[in-house]
Symmetry: D2
Subunit: 383 residues, 4 copies
């Protein structure tokens, strides 16, 4: 019998985790997947409380993710996929063990610390015939998909310049403070053991790279980067020149110390025939300009958008969709693909319209190249 609904488990994502809750709401948004298992916290009490809140079978709430992978992999009614929303430093080993136990994986970004690890995961997934999503969630935004459709169908001609940024202000108080962390959110993010070799580029710069790649189909070939540390062990600010595989140049700027910006991911793609601009804080609109013509403000949900945008639409035009819906779009495609896979069906390119291991690998390469370039006084560094 064909599966119509999927079940999933979570590693990390306890009750107090902002991003964990977003995952759960998003996974259940379309009524196609339900939470069945979890290893939410190393703290036993918190782990159990989370299981209870979600009314899980206590047997399927595990204190150890290795045990969870094995047992869920062995159960007949075991989870169809696992969501990994734990600190960066455990992504690799967690993903690996679930793959080894035959379970599809959706993992938060960045995928892992080293390119070799990323490629190993890719190898295992291929051998096992498993799906793997790396949660570059901004590609789930309806108007990001619309931008992709417009660009890849040639509406702005050949891409000649990209100007993209991701600016936040929330760590500005950490400047010059050394280890005296003032900001709740920054504690693990600036510990290289947990966060990896980069804070700002790893956390948000990599979203720029992925969102631009998704929109344009271009890959970054090399970067010339300058990271600023302001006395902290990891970077808080990064400006870089980028060169794409088609020869176009541009800049990527990411920062956690730019006052006036909360979550300012902005991508501007310039082509020989037009340009496209998208702001994550106003995700329902897209600024589209054809050469010599007035700028047009595209609204999600209107009849003029592409088939793909219409397909992914949830609300009538003018009723704002936000972050949850972007995540829900990732899950909608992902769960659809998992169900098809579980049912032995063939998957089309559209079925696979979610960020995958290639995106994850590119992200890890990007972080390494940016850090290395900055260490070498901004010398151009290949990914």
């Amino acid at each position: 019998m064909m599966k119509k609904y999927a079940t999933y488990g979570m590693v990390g994502a306890g009750l107090n985790s902002f991003i964990g809750n977003v995952h759960r709401v998003a996974a259940g948004f379309d009524g196609l997947a339900s939470l069945a298992s979890g290893c939410f916290s190393r703290n036993e009490e918190r782990n159990r409380a989370c299981g209870e809140f979600y009314k899980l079978d206590p047997e399927r709430v595990y204190g150890d993710f290795q045990e969870m992978a094995k047992k869920e992999g062995a159960r007949e009614d075991g989870i169809d996929f696992v969501v990994i929303s734990a600190p960066n430093n455990v992504h690799y080993e967690t993903a690996k063990v679930f793959l080894e136990n035959g379970i599809h994986v959706l993992c938060e970004k960045p995928l892992c610390f080293e390119v070799e690890e990323a490629e190993e995961l890719k190898k295992i997934a291929a051998e096992k015939g498993l799906l793997f999503c790396v949660n570059y969630s901004y590609s789930g935004n309806n108007m990001v998909k619309e931008a992709r459709e417009l660009i890849q169908s040639g509406q702005i001609g050949e891409v000649i310049d990209v100007n993209a940024e991701y600016l936040q202000e929330y760590l500005v108080d950490d400047i010059g403070k050394g280890d005296q962390t003032m900001n709740r959110l920054s504690s693990w993010r600036k510990d290289p053991e947990i966060a990896g070799i980069s804070n700002c580029v790893g956390d948000i710069g990599t979203h720029i790279e992925n969102t631009v790649a998704y929109m344009t189909g271009l890959r970054v070939k090399r970067v010339a980067a300058k990271l600023d540390y302001f006395g902290q062990p990891l970077d808080l600010n990064a400006n870089m020149l980028v060169e794409f595989d088609n020869g176009a140049h541009g800049v990527f700027c990411s920062s956690q110390v730019c006052v006036g910006h909360m979550n300012g991911l902005v991508t501007r793609i310039f082509g020989t025939e037009g340009s496209i601009e998208w702001h994550e804080e106003e995700p329902n609109v897209l600024y589209v300009t054809k050469k010599g013509q007035p700028m047009q403000i595209y609204h999600r949900g209107m009849a003029y958008v592409s088939g793909r945008s219409a397909e992914m639409n949830r609300l009538p035009a003018g009723h704002p969709e936000g972050l949850y819906e972007a995540f829900a779009n990732i899950y909608k495609v992902w769960i659809g693909a998992v169900l098809k896979k579980q049912n032995g069906e063939t998957l089309s390119e559209t079925d696979l319209d979610f960020p995958d291991l290639d995106d994850g690998i590119e992200g890890v390469r990007f972080i390494h190249a940016a850090v290395k370039s900055s260490q070498e006084d901004s010398a151009w560094t290949e990914l």
Copy 2:
């Protein structure tokens, strides 16, 4: 034992209903309520399909809402509340029968056709000690709550003028077309038997009235309205002068034929000391100006917002919340109140921070006054 979770049923809101799906996602957003029963469609097949999609007990999927009210009211594990998301003309009788069977009611707006019906519902709810929410959903927006906090704590002084509008373009093709409806969405909305005496004022004008009342605490005392019908049986456009109970004046403009606007609910409240402006299409920000000072752009989620705004917050500043989250906020407060009520607890004013029967009654009065004023060449008409 204290209830920690609520169950609910739905009348209307089949699988193809945009607003029905919004209700279901919103009700389940915080994991505090689950769908247990429904009477989704008069069409038997669609009704059953909806029940199956939501994995309901087939016995609790009813073909008749009267039967549903009686049986659910009689079950020990009957639903805690019902959501009425059916056409306007059945709101009254549906709400009434659920109240009579001891079930709390959340009903879409407008509450009903006649003021007398509305007052009867209020009387029954009071007698039975039941809660009743009329879903003026924009009051669920975080920054609308912030506006309310700022205004009611005196930040803009006394309100002296209000300029509010709700503009859409989606019925512009109906102009001069008489009964040859061109637009899918407009069919029942322009049938007076189903929609009531007004289309545009009833559907969206009434949201202006409620959102302004919620923000300011003021009630409209009288209106001088001009409705435009453009050859249709019901109004498509409405401009009106309003007078509030504190003597302030202003204008409310609602339209479904204003090209360039998708869901343009904008409220601007002017006081002796400052002003506040909110746009539904950019719901995460609020424009606040103190007399003689620069305009300030408040962002949801920042440390400077009020306690109420912080309490209702879901995502970090800059990560957009949208329509689903506004609905989810209504449900969060509503479910909290239902659970306290079911558990015999006392409810505070904050517990009751959802639009209630008084709001519903005011909405019905407002629609009647607007239509009557327009019929009398825009004479001022008391609510």
Copy 3:
């Protein structure tokens, strides 16, 4: 010999007059007119100082405007036109005497106090074959002209609704203060002897009326107005329903007590096929939407604008033109017309593209109708 340059004189507009300086810069902007005479102030010293600053022949600096009209009218090299930039209460008599002495007149708005006076001026000008401009300066904005071209060529279909406003905050401190004027600018504006029967409608509401009329070609047929006085002798705030001669309705809101607005003239014109929106504070752009299409942002100076907009253009697209340039455009057309008239040439409709006595008369009628309607509890009042 054909005149290539014009000379002009000024009544009012001393050195400290903001608007007087704008007139002088604008008149000289294109090198086609020079100041030759003036009666700048009743204060002899200030009058002389102004004449000296502008290096005028002392003989042509007059203490009395009647004397000025007679002497300049009699000189062979007398001024071609006079600019009247004095308080409202002297517009009528000043304009009259210059017309009687054969001098073309450019007068600030409002034209005068009474409709009869306005019509008398029209009669004299016609008899004498003189030109008369009433300085409704916003019609000089390039993108207002573009809006007019687009609307009058049918780009937005038939106009069905107009929503226009002119909001300022600068008199908010006068609320409830009676005669204790706190604000420098408001002193003469709230004296009915000098300002006439209305402050807010007369000063800025009338600009809404004229700008909309210029853009659309429609005239207001009747108004239903509510003016707020807040304890002052003249109005500070006005909301009104309007009905146009084509049957369309709309609202005009003018205010000097709306915090957050400096000079917020905004006109939004809605038609059966599209809409157009213009903001005086961002005068170089126009928001144009065709039914069902994305909003387009037109920029002054681009190749896609109309011939008229291109003709009136001064700077490349993106280099902002502002208030001075709008005035300069009025003067460019006006001086061109005066020179043609003085040279005995025939004037085309385009030559006469400046606000004239018919606009001035309409403005006076509009003010009277608004005040009368408000006195009669907002009864619809014909212009």
Copy 4:
């Protein structure tokens, strides 16, 4: 006797020159300077026509700028200053000969081709005791001055990042066209003999450098640049990392091929305590954010602006000032300084608030560094 008015001459700036007309209007804006001489065109007829249009004494309209410098320098009533608005390649020799003849110079940017030339001009001006303005006109904008006041008084703390751009689209059609110039404006700008070693950086990139330097007081120490030529002899697009003398980093992006942008000079200055953002296309506002606070929109002309902004103000808040007024502000300060100098008065720092030879020299260094860096694969290059 003290001079109250100045006279000036022009080199270049014939009747068809857009920027020439801007200069003339701006110089005369405040009634403090009049045009008395010129060498407008190498074409004799056009030269004479321009002189006639401005009613100049024919003797003072010269066919040769060397002759003009000598004769005007020798006349008792000779011009007080000269405005050089001719192609880049003649700036140096023209400026030099006027200085040598004792005449103050206002020269368009870029100042000249080589740093040595620039320093020679500085030496001559110093020896002769003459004033020299290099027309980086954006520093004349009122709100740029306000930004400078706010930043230099410490309102945003120490500058830690700068993100600035100047984007235009008007040369996008030149991409890949080699010498087949399609665009009227681009002809001399892409001829290295006339324009110098850079088109895009030289024309607009240098404005970024100057505007940022003026606002912040910081100087660029080194750049890592990537220029794009798209098959043309000179650059059309430039992205660069910059390092300032206080150690802060940032990016400067200038382009003439970015569709959707007309004259998009945007400067964003980030400090440890706040940030400031200014857009040349909306020059009357400034976006100011203090750490952790809502963004504030400052309007020119309001009471809360600094003394300097108030001093340079022309119109009430909300009435837009544009490019002409920015130029007029440069001239207002410049003419004031020239008059004081001619009258033997001492000049304060505020009297000298115009871009001078040091700015001009910095601009030349900047252009050379950017081109050199790009030639060396974006190696960091000191100015």
